[in-house]
Amino acid sequence: MGRYILRRLLQLVPVFIGTTFLIYLLVWALPGDPFAGKCGERACPDAYITRMREEFHLDENVVVQYLRYLGNLLQGDFGQTFSGTSVGELIAAAYPVTLRLAIVALLIEALIGVLAGVLTGLRSGGFLDNLVLVSTLFLISIPVFVTGYVLQTVLGLRLGLISPTVSADAGFGELIVPGFVLASLSMAYVARLTRTSIAENRRSDYVRTAVAKGLEPRRVVGVHLLRNSLIPVVTFLGVDLGSLMSGAIVTEGIFNIRGIGGLVFRSIALREGATVTGVVVLLVIVYLLMNLLVDVVYAVLDPRIRYV
């Protein structure tokens, strides 16, 4: 197992270099001059542009630029925005909020999704089953921004149960409704995945054996059935955590959460190449590590899988 993890980590190196190079290339290949609108109504003085281009090495070959960027990155330096703010600091300010939101969303989708999936998988065809099937279909078919605005309007403005926007420090309590919005789609998938998995395994021989051993029904379901049925669900949740941390732009926008999503959105609009690259590079790392974690957890959950 140790060797497997080491090999997987080594495999991350070329993937990391490839993806970051691609991102770097794309961001700097965007048409338009990053300094075009910097000086208000008038065009910027040539002297300023020349100085900036020199400072940010924009006239060099893009490969050289990238290598310099990579070198700095490996020393923990994400570079600076054109106004001189450290990109590392920007990310450090925004990332904890996004992480909290992603964790709240993951907990919501795991708890509600798995619970709904288990209950319906055990008794398919009943009222609860149909209710869950219809409501998950509903969640899957409406876009996140609709769910977001509807909940914000109803819970925040009409009923006054929550504050419509999240405050600057964004505590866990405030993030429950935004987390629900962010999680809604995946939650529906988790519920359906669990339901199918439970219904499939419910009639398996080892469940029959567990019953024949005289174990309590709660133990048969909670230990024997659940452990096997959750293997695909855990895989999904792990990969989904990666996308929850990167895909929150819409939700963050609706609830005015100052996280990574908003940061990257603003940076793209302002052509702040260093910030965009920095954020996306970080997301790539998170995504790659989550995938590795999922593969390792998979082996722990299912001992039949052995890594060599």
Partner: protein, 327 residues
């Protein structure tokens, strides 16, 4: 006569499906006493496993519905017993092993966990004691290096070894009755013999009642005391193993015996039973075997022969049983 250890009487089970009602069991009677082995023999679909599952209380329902009869353990009626009481009996007094040990064992838990599970949840044993006992049980069923293997998972064992694990698990709570549902069907012939010997040894040593379900006549000859032959959800013949082999008293048993290859008839063609087992949704009137029976007469199409006890103590559900027993 004393109360038998386990007794099944007139058991009737239907499978209610969308395509109609299948009459899977139509009055099954058998019993087993401590220290003896009853073999239940029959083709696929004759109701052997359904009977066993009903006895265990693990019949799939739906579609299975018990419509009549009685299952008694030491005289206690099980079919009407509370679910909690039935659960108490499972594993503790009546245990069962299944055909395919690979799918019957949980793939994600170690064999030690699965064997010790009942000891921990029902005897309140500590994790360590349960594992120690699991090692003893693995040792008992002849798994080499039990101490090292107790933390292995089922897929790390060979087919025969897995069935041994299954047997060890069923013995954990010292049951009085063990039901073995085709325990050797999925195994190699050489391994089959080993597992049969192991079951026979354990049965004799612990003075258990063993119900051995099989479709393999060769398997039962050496280990069974009595044989019950099933056809279309009923017992059609019941006898001790010697009389049954020497002189089968039901045309179906006779046909079954004739269909086994034998050394002394080598070279001649093997006789097969003509026709197919009846569809359980449409069992023919009269004796269900009559469409395939070489002895069938007019009466057989109208009269359902009861399982009648013959003078020698054996029984047969054939209208011509007395002629057959006379030879």
């Amino acid at each position: 006569m004393a109360t038998p250890l386990l007794e099944v009487e007139g058991l009737r089970v239907e499978f209610r499906t969308r395509d109609g009602v299948a009459h899977v069991l139509n009055g099954v009677d058998y019993h087993v006493d401590a220290g003896e082995t009853l073999a239940v023999l029959g083709e696929s679909g004759s109701g052997k496993s359904v009977t066993a599952n009903t006895v265990m209380g693990i019949l799939e329902s739906p579609p299975g519905v018990v419509t009549g009869g009685s299952v008694r353990y030491r005289g206690e009626e099980l079919l009407t017993a509370a679910p909690a009481r039935r659960r108490e009996l499972r594993g503790e007094h009546i245990a069962m092993i299944f055909q395919d040990a690979l799918s019957a064992l949980n793939p994600v838990f170690t064999v030690g966990f699965q064997i010790g599970e009942q000891l921990r949840t029902r005897r309140g044993m500590s994790r360590r004691d349960a594992e120690k006992r699991a090692v003893e049980l693995l040792d008992l069923v002849g798994i080499p290096g039990a101490k090292q293997r107790v933390r292995d998972h089922p897929h790390q064992f060979s087919g025969g070894m897995r069935q041994r694990v299954m047997i060890a698990m069923s013995l954990a709570l010292d049951p009085d009755v063990l039901i073995a549902d085709e325990p050797t069907t999925a195994l190699d012939v050489t391994v089959q013999a080993q597992i049969m010997d192991l079951l026979a040894d354990i049965q004799a040593e612990r003075h258990m009642g063993l119900i051995l379900i099989t479709h393999d006549l060769g398997v039962v000859a050496e280990v069974a005391d009595r044989i019950a032959v099933m056809y279309a959800g009923r017992i059609v013949e019941h006898a001790d193993v010697h009389s049954l082999y020497a002189n089968p008293c039901h045309p179906y048993t006779r046909a079954l015996l004739e269909s086994i290859p034998r050394v002394d008839t080598k070279g001649t063609s093997l006789s097969a039973i003509s026709g197919l087992p009846p569809s359980l949704t449409r069992i023919p009137p009269g004796c269900p075997f009559h469409p395939r029976c070489p002895m069938a007469a007019e009466r057989c199409t109208e009269e359902l022969p009861p399982l009648a006890v013959l003078p020698s103590g054996r029984s047969s559900a054939c209208l011509f049983a007395e002629e057959l027993v006379a030879g």
